[in-house]
């Protein structure tokens, strides 16, 4: 945690320089750059593997892009969804459920005066550890059960991004032609568009608010 806290206040440009990485001007074509940079800086490594980033601690690391006012700018990608039906309805035993047991969120705050696309100017906020409580777990599990149920029943194409209060299932692919194995409506394994599990921005907003009381302190 102390190592993570030492990143707070640092810009992405400064961190890139410290770690010897060239920071791209923006994230287009470099999706996931900040997450990987922070992972390297903190010595985490798991990527989309089923285990958490900090395996020994059971902690998942997630960067959380925030506006200058401290509101999450987008939903937070958690992991790829298994669409082949090999994963059941038990949220706690699921890949996404294990990833979300304990999450170290590293906020990435947009500079209020810099242009939104200026990645190097974005500043890392104070990391905070989120350990889901029973109420949050019930909320996530309910979303998971409903969405995973559609996956199991071969109705993946009927899943909309508007579904899920805290957890979303959305397309996740480098391009539209990418395919993975999923269930057809008859139950056979057929190529389908990959999907990923995401935490809704409205859900992470409450976590930010709870962690910091208010969004941003006046400078």
């Amino acid at each position: 945690m102390a190592r993570a806290r030492s990143l707070a206040g640092m810009t992405i440009g400064e961190l890139g320089q410290r770690m010897g990485y060239r920071v791209p001007p923006d994230l287009s074509g470099h999706k996931g750059f900040v997450g990987q940079l922070v992972e390297v800086a903190l010595g985490a490594h798991a990527g989309s593997d089923p285990e958490p980033d900090f395996v020994a601690l059971g902690i998942e690391l997630k960067t959380l892009p925030l506006s200058a006012e401290g509101r999450p700018l987008e939903s937070t990608y958690v992991c790829l969804a298994r669409l082949d039906g090999r994963e059941g309805l038990d949220f706690k035993a699921s890949h996404v459920g294990r990833k979300l047991e304990q999450v170290l969120f590293v906020p990435m705050v947009a500079d209020p005066v810099a242009t939104a696309s200026c990645l190097a100017e974005r500043r890392l906020g104070r990391p905070f550890l989120w350990v889901r409580d029973a109420e949050e777990e019930a909320l996530l599990a309910a979303d998971f059960e409903r969405l995973q149920g559609l996956v199991l029943l071969g109705q993946i194409d009927e899943v909309r991004a508007t579904e899920g209060v805290a957890l979303q299932l959305r397309p996740k692919a480098m391009d539209r032609s990418e395919r993975t194995l999923g269930r057809s409506d008859e139950g056979w394994l057929v190529p389908v568009q990959p999907r990923g599990w995401y935490l809704r921005a409205s859900f992470t907003a409450t976590l930010v608010q709870r962690a910091f009381g208010r969004v941003l302190a006046p400078r």
């Binding site: 199991l152 071969g154 139950g187 056979w188 400078r219």
Partner: protein, 655 residues
């Protein structure tokens, strides 16, 4: 009145005669001889029969006879049973939510009677004589006494004699008879404890005595060869019990009819179950192929709606994903064990040999292969409950307590009570009271109503600890307006002017005295300090922590402020760090009170107009017990009180 006028006056809408209405209803219920057999056998099963004998002649065109040894009907019930929408199985709309019988609509008998020469003979055990009801082509029923054994016999002769158009739609005798045979096999699989016999003319097409084990019935119905290729599956959860037999992917067929499924004893063609069976095989099964499977699913009747299809061939699960998962897990456990790798020629019988009397369907895989796949097996069955819910009980899996008689005698010679019936025993599961939710009144929780969010938001001006009580608390405080940056309050009979900035300073000071909790800042404030300031700040970090301030060195001359007490969240962290550093730079031994005053001062500097409504509320609440003598760091009073007496005096009241 002319003929044309008469025609105009006659109503165009008319209520159909009962006979015609029944014939129309028969269009849905009675499609072919097999549909008649289905309805009559379902009634027999619902009547608790342990033997059901069916005879058809000319594939059911000239005669369909169903004889059972069920509980029979009283003379009055027998007369009512042939009326439309008369049923003993449903009494209220609530009953439809948990149907535990195969039939329930009360449509079958009148529909069948309207398109045939229909005879019903029935007797209860306590009745001395039987009752016979005859109906010809939907005409009025004729009732008379008759001699007959306990149970019910229904004869349907000359089906569709009065609607010859329907006869044209029937297929060849071979096809129609095969439909009846398939139907009876389905019933036999669904009700192993019932003895079924089907006679077709002079020969017996099926004779399936009751059995104690599901696998025995599978072998009876599907044959020893098919039985040898099927492997046992089983799973039980809180709401679901899945038992059955499934073949390996090598035995897959090109038609979905390879999968036979029963839900609470009812044979269904359910998309969810079919999908789950196919899904369980994963990549082992090529697209376009269907596994051979016979599955029995027992589920709480309230979890399934059977009233969704005219012939009740489809059902709708309340939570299809749960059923899906249960079926997938049951089959995958078997597939994981790969029982066909073992060289035994009769895997089904070998596995079944280890069946226990109750819930034993799961045991063989656990005991036989636990060593090979310990993790999968243990995980899978970890959810089992020690006792079975009533609905989870299969009609016959070697359960001694529910054993049906196993004999091969003629049904008419049987003098036993009604047989057991799985669906009949169906009772809704216990409803558990919801566990009390933990109270989070003081915490922000996702999904709370906006008002709750607002209440816990108030980020900049929250006070973590309650204000220190003043000696005298005023009542009925309310805001009446504002002027020149001051708030005008009504404090009981008195009036008060409040300086918000000074009030915030005093409120913060009060809160800091209560050793508040530190609230982390999203972005730390960093400042380069002069060496003397840095030394002094470093020396007082513990004092800062007691006030809820987290200040630490950040390398070289830089210090960072990481957290503030909630009461000071309105302060600019950078300004606050600078103010404290300057104070300690000048006087390293400044008292804790001076440090608190510095924090309160900077917090007050953060007050901006227009005032946040939540801050106003806090000031109003503070004013109720604030001292009129309290002053801020400038020596300025926060609150100026005009008592009712003074106002009256200045206004000259009372002279």
């Amino acid at each position: 009145m002319s003929g044309a006028e008469n025609e105009r006056a006659a109503p165009k809408v008319a209520v159909l005669p009962d006979a015609l209405a029944n014939q129309i209803a028969a269009g849905e219920v009675v499609e072919r001889p097999a549909s008649v057999v289905k309805e009559l056998v379902e009634n027999a099963i619902d009547a608790g029969a342990s033997r059901i004998l069916v005879d058809v002649e000319d594939a059911g065109r000239t005669l369909i006879r169903v004889v059972d040894d069920g509980e029979g009907m009283s003379p009055d019930d027998a007369a009512l049973a042939v009326l439309r929408h008369a049923t003993s199985k449903v009494r209220s709309a609530d009953d439809l939510l948990a149907i535990g019988t195969l039939g329930f609509r009360g449509e079958a008998l009148p529909s069948i009677a309207s398109v045939s020469r229909f005879t019903l003979v029935t007797r209860r055990e306590d009745d001395e004589v039987a009752t016979e009801v005859r109906i010809i082509g939907g005409a009025a029923p004729e009732k008379r006494l008759a001699a007959a054994p306990v149970g019910t016999r229904i004869e349907v002769r000359d089906l569709f004699w009065n609607v010859p158009a329907r006869l044209k739609f029937l297929k060849s005798d071979t096809t129609e008879q095969q439909q009846v045979v398939d139907l009876m096999k389905g019933f036999a699989l669904g009700y192993p404890h019932v003895h079924f016999r089907l006679g077709t003319g002079q020969r017996t097409a099926l004779d399936l005595p009751s059995v104690r084990k599901l696998h025995e019935r599978v072998v009876q119905v599907l044959g020893r060869e098919v039985g040898a290729r099927l492997f046992e599956v089983g799973l039980q959860t809180e709401t679901l019990r899945v038992t059955g037999f499934v073949a390996s992917a090598r035995e897959a067929k090109a038609a979905a009819s390879a999968m036979t499924c029963f839900v609470n004893g009812r044979r269904v063609k359910d998309r969810t179950i079919h999908h789950a069976i196919v899904s369980a095989f994963g990549s082992e099964l090529a697209p376009g192929r269907f596994p051979q499977a016979v599955l029995w699913i027992h589920i709480d009747p309230s979890e399934v709606d059977v009233n969704v299809h005219p012939a009740k061939a489809e059902v709708r699960f309340r939570r299809p994903q749960v059923v899906h998962e249960g079926v997938v897990r049951a089959i995958q456990t078997m597939l994981l064990a790969r029982p066909w790798v073992d060289a035994s020629p009769l895997p089904l019988e070998r596995h079944a040999a280890g069946l226990g009397p109750r819930g034993g369907a799961i045991q063989p895989l656990l005991t036989g292969h636990a060593g090979d796949r310990p993790t999968a097996s243990r995980d899978l069955f970890a959810v089992q409950r020690p006792t079975l819910a009533p609905y989870a009980e299969p009609p016959c899996v070697g359960d001694d307590a529910r054993e049906a008689p196993t004999d091969r005698d003629d049904a008419r010679e049987v003098d036993e009570g009604p047989g057991t019936h799985g669906a009949r025993d169906a009772r809704p599961t216990e409803v558990r009271a919801p566990e009390p939710r933990p109270s989070h009144a003081t915490e922000l929780r996702f999904g709370e109503r906006p008002t709750a969010l607002l209440a816990s938001e108030a980020p900049a001006w929250r006070v973590a600890s309650p204000p220190v009580a003043a000696p005298a608390s005023r009542r009925s405080t309310r805001l009446v307006g504002s002027a020149r940056g001051l708030l005008v309050l009504e404090l009981g009979e008195d009036l008060a002017l409040v300086d918000p900035q000074a009030a915030v300073e005093l409120m913060t000071l009060q809160a800091l005295e209560a050793r508040p909790v530190a609230q982390p800042l999203l972005l730390p404030a960093r400042l380069d300090l002069a060496p003397s300031e840095a030394r002094a700040v470093l020396a007082r970090c513990a004092d800062f922590a007691a006030m809820g301030l987290e200040i630490e060195p950040f390398g070289g001359p830089t210090f960072q402020l990481l957290a503030l007490p909630e009461a000071a969240l309105g302060a600019s962290p950078t300004t606050l760090l600078g103010e404290l550093a300057r104070l300690l730079g000048r006087r390293p031994d400044a008292s804790e009170l001076e440090l608190r005053r510095a924090v309160a001062k900077v917090t007050a500097m953060g007050v901006r107009t227009p005032l946040d409504p939540r801050l106003i509320d806090r000031i109003v609440a503070w004013a109720e017990s604030a001292s009129v003598d309290a002053r801020d760091h400038r020596g300025r009073r926060a609150l100026l009180l005009l008592s009712a007496g003074e106002i009256a005096r200045r206004l000259g009241d009372g002279g």
